[in-house]
Amino acid sequence: MNKFNNKLASFLFLLPCLIFLSIFVFMPLFKNFYNSFFEYSVFSATKDFVGLDNFKLLLADKKIKIALLNNIRYAIISVFFQVGLGLVLAAVLEHHFLRKVAPFFRVTFFMPVMISISVIALLFGFIYNPQIGILNSFLELIGLDNLSRAWLGNSSTAIYAVIAMSQWQSIGYIMMLFIVAIQRISKELYEAAELDGAGKIKQFFYITVPQVKETLFINTLLTITGSMLVFNEPYILTNGGPGVSSMTLAVYMYQSGFFKDRMGYASTIAITIFIITAILAIIQIRISHTGKD
């Protein structure tokens, strides 16, 4: 009987969490999956059942391919700059050589994280402006006139201009997470390595990196799934344009639903995004064996 009471108690403690999860996570997820078999307008109350038509359309949709490719670009560049460079920055700032000035740089690098993304997007809109933008003025100043262009108005540069802004904004956040992880590494490891004659670079690769493996994995996961969901930056800066050159899956989903009035198709795109991020998360969890260390 006592055992049963224990079980019941633990179940009751879990209950609030379960209820909230079901209402706010699982219900919408299943509803969304259900909706993807229908075509309907936000204006109308009725839904037309279309079976797998939306999925067929999705597979044939060229814009989906462009959007997915842009998300992949986002992920690769973000992992390299945010996770890679963020780790290097954190290691440098945690070095005793920089102890005195480190707090200043920590705050400086973290500052963009605290600014609203809408504000940042507007600021970068000015930076990239073809007429008054400081990026083009700077390029002209250092004699690289031929590189200056309408960054957001050019279909080959628009998505990279958007990605660049995200790197600037998010690197400080990832760096901060790494700093916390590095601070937990015992100093003796470094001292021992130093006695053995390991240089700074060797210490970084043989002590810092293996010791922050868990954080590294979490940050990579966060960055990649975040890249698959990215919406604000392209939406505010370019709205997916010019043409569809800087479209991402989330922007395309939003526009299909609320601009083009195809809620069913938007649900299908949402399901696609969910499947992609779920698969990525499962792969990464399998590879890294989190929690077993």
Partner: protein, 437 residues
């Protein structure tokens, strides 16, 4: 034991769901009842809240509507007006979201034609015939022809307020310096653009192509000039459209040709920037709405004029038609009586007169525009609008939004050289096939 536990858990979940859902329904019903009670009794003491949603968070209209709301609240102490405003493209998205659930504001602005029709389809818009017929003085104070864009199946759902048309604005002194005249035909227009480019104007014509609607205005007018009206009538209806007429490809080619004169900046700037470039004298020609006359006048004392989109040789449409449509106000089906009063207040002759004086845009209220409250150039525009041989609605309101989106994004891709007119039309035809089903 395990089973019992599971059943218990499920029961709790089910109960919490049903409880949660039914409760929210109760709330909705009771709030509707509240509104009905207020509107039926028109209680003086009770506070009535009117939600007012428009699309001008920018000056001068933001202040204008704030003042008008304050005035109305001063006249009716029991009324409180909440104002919300977002800009053009965002407004289109937000109103779609609002109309899809019962959060529709009591009174809000709407474009005419398909945009209005889409809202009406939600069945959450108040039919206005009874209200209009009950107050003939008010009804007759509005230019009757402007109602058509808000009337569907002989039921009127909106009150037109602003009227508009689109024309090429040109810098008169630049034209005079280079011995140029306002072009009458498309080939003359290209000659003018070439001459201006030769005279050192890098972008003789400019447009902010990041604004999708700006592209649709070009495309809509070009297609109106080129195509037989019987063709567009079939194609613009989503139930019958095929978009196979070769005129569409020709139309996109013309648009592409024009973007060559707009320079590389065009795809990176918005329409407002383009207007400022015109006002500063950087670009001598820009395609603008009459609503923007005052915005240019406020910035510069430059001497400017306008000409209608030139006729296109071999075009099968009315070569003198004017693109432009009224905008007006709509009411939510659940709007209280006070919102109707507010609508009458907003479309009164006094408000209309003050509106045109403050903003410069012309209005559809008889006596709302005269030589006193508007500049000679706007008066000229007013006459053009009211006397136009035919008016064509804005393209993004004339066709299904999925078709318009392909045309508008396609316009950007044409300007950057990413797609060809044929590729865009293939995409349009595929979409039209899907919509016809």
């Amino acid at each position: 034991m395990k089973n019992r536990l599971m059943i218990m858990g499920l029961l709790v979940l089910i109960i919490s769901f049903t409880f949660g859902c039914s409760k929210s329904n109760d709330n909705e019903i009771s709030s509707e009842n509240d509104q009905n009670v207020v509107s039926e009794t028109g209680a003086k003491d009770e506070q009535v809240v009117i939600n007012f949603f428009h699309r001008w968070p920018n000056e001068p209209r933001k202040s204008f509507y704030q003042e008008k709301a304050d005035e109305f609240m001063a006249l009716n102490p029991n009324v409180k007006i909440n104002i919300d405003a977002v800009l053009n493209d965002s407004y289109k998205e937000k109103i779609r979201v609002l109309v899809s659930n019962d959060d529709l504001p009591d009174i809000f602005t709407s474009w005419s034609d398909s945009f209005a029709l889409n809202l009406v389809k939600s069945e959450r818009i108040m039919p206005l015939d009874d209200i209009l017929n009950a107050d003939p003085d008010w009804k007759n104070s509005i230019i009757a022809s402007q109602f058509s864009g808000f009337t569907f199946d002989d039921v009127t759902y909106g009150v037109p307020f602003t009227i508009d048309g689109k024309a090429f604005f040109y810098n008169k002194s630049v034209f005079a310096e280079n011995n140029l005249k306002a072009p009458k035909t498309y080939s003359e227009f290209i000659e003018v653009l070439d001459a201006l480019q030769a005279a050192g104007y890098e972008t003789p014509i400019v447009e902010g192509l990041t604004n999708a609607w700006a592209i649709s205005h070009y495309e809509g007018t070009i297609l109106q000039r080129l195509l037989d009206p019987s063709v567009t009538e079939v194609d613009y209806n989503e139930a019958t459209g095929t978009f196979t007429d070769p005129g569409y490809v020709r139309g996109l080619e013309i648009f592409k040709e024009l973007t060559k004169y707009m320079g590389e900046v065009s795809t990176a700037i918005d329409h407002e920037t383009a207007r400022n470039m015109f006002a500063k004298g950087e670009s001598p020609i820009v395609y603008m709405q009459f609503a923007e006359i005052k915005m240019v006048e406020d910035q510069t004392d430059m001497d400017f004029g306008f000409f209608n989109f030139p006729s296109i040789e071999g075009g099968k449409g009315d070569q003198n038609a004017l693109t432009g449509a009224p905008e007006g106000w709509m009411l939510s089906k659940n709007a209280p009586q006070e919102a109707v009063e507010f609508l009458k207040f907003l479309t009164s002759k006094e408000t209309a007169y003050a509106f045109t004086k403050a903003d410069g845009q012309l209005n559809a209220i008889i006596g709302g525009v005269d030589a006193e409250n508007t500049s000679p150039i706007s008066m000229n525009a007013f006459n053009i609008v009211t006397e136009a041989s035919a008016t064509a609605p804005w393209f993004d309101n004339a066709v299904n939004i999925n078709i318009a989106d392909i045309f508008m994004r396609g316009g950007q891709s044409l300007a950057t050289g990413e797609l060809t007119p044929e590729e865009i039309m293939e995409e349009v035809q595929a979409e039209a096939d899907r919509l016809r089903k």
